[in-house]
Assembly symmetry: C2
Homo-oligomer: 440 residues x 2
């Protein structure tokens, strides 16, 4: 709609329409607009809205605007942005843009941005921001509200305030709800909660997401190694973390190198790079499975009908294994299963795989017997199938648990890897049983 | 720790320890305690804490306590719980417990719970609660704070208040932050935000999660068909929704019927029921693939070496296809890809699959040529591989898009289904090319 107004040259109406819109939606409109027009629209925005809209833009649109505006305008935007948004923005820009942006900032802002850029990827430090409200414990509720009114407009959240001593060490937290329900003369120290769930800068952001879910938090303070509070993480960012971590697992589990870029914005070359190494590795692994078939060429020549059961055995093994590995990988991601549960998991998988395996084997036996009238062939395939299902589910549960134990990402031990391993096992079982029962 | 104190009979110390703990952690301790002891500990808790702790318990522990306490105690707990928690609790209980709980409630509470139980699963109505703060537009900021102080203790969130007319129709919302920063004499109507993101009771909860993420919301009002506000959804519940929806997709994509129960708490029978139907269906489908091999038995007898390449072709096809389907399924779950993007997706997949396919084919050709010194065999396998990768990625992207278009869950069109389809295609291609190039 903004796009249409701009194209029609109706800037006055465009400005009015922008005023009524949510900054998130303004950003969405700007992303759909040509860079040159986007800059014109962007300049119509009031200064504080501009910074917020800028934070919501994707990095292409951010770069498009940055390259067209003046140095002092860049400075104005970055100064108005929350620190976490500024850091996210700078991380995505090419070196030349980063240099220009940092050169225009006052030294103290530049220093703190440089410090935040150094936190390891996926750490609590990398997603925290510094705009929080800290209160001294001696304050009364009335004084606390004065402080909140004074600083509230520049804070990412005002709803949880952190009580600190003179060294910035965390003593407790107090919510605006508690403050509102307390007497104006009460002391913060008397109403604060001292049992605060907090993180340290090096904690994994996935761990934080788990604690936000568990305790229903809106924000969490982050402390440095000396227990001083250095920032907070807010629930909106944690929702993004939760979504990104799930996406990463989906990708790893499908033999893809994870990428943060949306599908339609990822180049063909980047996509090929994310996919090809895994396909190559798994292709070469599968040649070992092929070697097993070569090794039993004599059996196949003696009884060519055996070959027709290979796809069914391989696919069922792969599916049975990936069912188990998926449940274990997801269970570990949600802290419902741990490597120490290995015996309980194994016992459960053995029973489930026995039930599934027997049911599949019986149906399979009936089908082959009806179609081929060959009891020994039906028995060979069905026993192989039962053992394949048990093997697959055992491998499928043990590999992710083992990966976690070795501090690897369990999501790598999913369908593609399991299938490759289980295929070989299924064929070895199949030919061995054929030899024993049919003598080929 | 509570468990140890209880077992040692030190109830005084246990009560003290409970007082310092987060209700979430108290619930965690109770779940680890024997039912009989859990009831003793539960009765030590102050009334309002008891209801909160009860809401955090898993349904086994809830049932254990409900079955051991008196009717008036049940009433006390359910009356103190937020409505969404009470509804979640009742939904998980067996019929006899539900009957007893509802019989003990006052008629108005029973009516509203019955009404909430009727909202469709996974709808906005099924996750909303009614404890929100509504303000009239004529109120001043000072009067609004009086209302918040009066109702705040019983509201799920006080940080966003909803401005309604006399018919409960939504006029706007106002945050406590805005109220705190406004003049005490200002009117709510002058400072409220009228551009409110809201849901209707029948909206899919996954859509709400997307909007919470997009707009960084803490709460969202839910309206009925006559535009009257009937409840709110809060961000803590949305985090759970986001996690459950991802888990559901992980499970569907691994050919599992979704289940909300944690792995270790799911019975062997329930697990078998979630897994067996899919394995059975896919096993029977894979017999068609076997039939293709039977159809080309003459080719295999003429050149038995062909059989050794079947696992590699099938696995690579399956992996290539599930890479594409995973990216498309996840992209659609995050609203980054839509069925209308089909041509852009197809064009991208064709190019990526050509690049991946050529690279894999070249490596494969070299390996076979070096090991077998047979150019025509190497060419047959490599051309089949290239075409299989292109076919797999085409099928892998089109099936989930088609499922979405038909309003089915795209996550069903993942690795297992793709593999089954692609296996057949890969083998048909392989034998056709072998016939053309080698003449077998």
């Amino acid at each position: 709609m903004i796009k249409e107004l701009i194209e029609a040259g109706d800037f006055a109406e465009a400005r009015r329409a922008l005023g009524d819109m949510n900054p998130v939606d303004v950003a969405g409109e700007l992303e759909k607009t040509e860079h040159a027009d986007a800059v014109r629209v962007f300049r119509m925005l009031p200064k504080d809205t501009a910074a917020e809209v800028f934070a919501y833009l994707d990095s292409d649109a951010q770069q498009g605007i940055i390259e067209k505006i003046k140095d002092h305008e860049i400075n104005g935007i970055v100064e108005e942005m929350f620190l976490d948004d500024a850091v996210d923005f700078i991380e995505e820009m090419p070196a030349s843009v980063v240099k220009r942006v940092l050169a225009n900032l006052p030294a103290d802002k530049r220093d703190i941005i440089n410090q935040f850029l150094k936190y390891p990827e996926n750490s609590a430090g990398s997603i925290m921001t510094i705009e929080y409200i800290s209160l001294k414990e001696r304050l009364t509720v009335r004084e606390a509200f004065d402080k909140i009114r004074g600083e509230g407009i520049d804070s990412e959240t005002i709803y949880t305030c952190y009580v600190t001593d003179s060294e910035r060490r965390l003593l407790g937290d107090v919510s605006v709800r508690t403050l509102l329900l307390a007497q104006p003369d009460a002391r913060v120290s008397d109403i604060m909660n001292t049992n605060v769930v907090f993180a340290v800068t090096t904690d994994d952001r996935e761990k934080l997401a788990g604690e936000f879910r568990k305790y229903g938090l809106l924000a969490m303070p982050v402390a440095d190694n000396e227990n001083r509070i250095v920032g907070i993480v807010t629930v909106d960012d944690i929702m993004t973390v939760q979504e990104e971590e799930a996406t990463e697992d989906f990708e790893l589990m499908a033999a893809l190198s994870p990428s943060d870029d949306p599908y339609l914005k990822t180049s063909v070359i980047a996509m090929t790079k994310n996919r090809l190494p895994w396909l190559m590795l798994l292709m070469l692994s599968a040649t070992f499975t092929g070697a097993i078939i070569s090794g039993f060429e004599a059996s196949l020549l003696a009884l060519p009908a055996l070959a027709a059961f290979i796809p069914m055995l391989m696919d069922t093994g792969g599916n049975a294994g990936s069912q188990s590995s998926t449940l274990i990988i997801r269970g570990m991601a949600l802290d419902e299963v741990a490597p120490s549960d290995v015996l309980r998991v194994l016992w459960k998988e053995l029973r489930v795989s026995a039930l599934c395996g027997v049911a599949l084997a019986v149906v399979n036996f009936a089908r082959i017997f009806i179609m081929n009238r060959d009891v020994m062939l039906a028995a060979t395939v069905s026993i192989s199938l039962l053992l394949t299902v048990v093997l697959s589910k055992t491998v499928g549960c043990l590999l992710p648990l083992g990966a976690k134990k070795l501090k690897l990402d369990p999501a790598v031990m999913a369908s593609p890897v399991i299938t490759t391993i289980v295929d070989a096992g299924a064929l070895l079982l199949f030919f061995a049983i054929a030899k024993a029962l049919i003598g080929v």
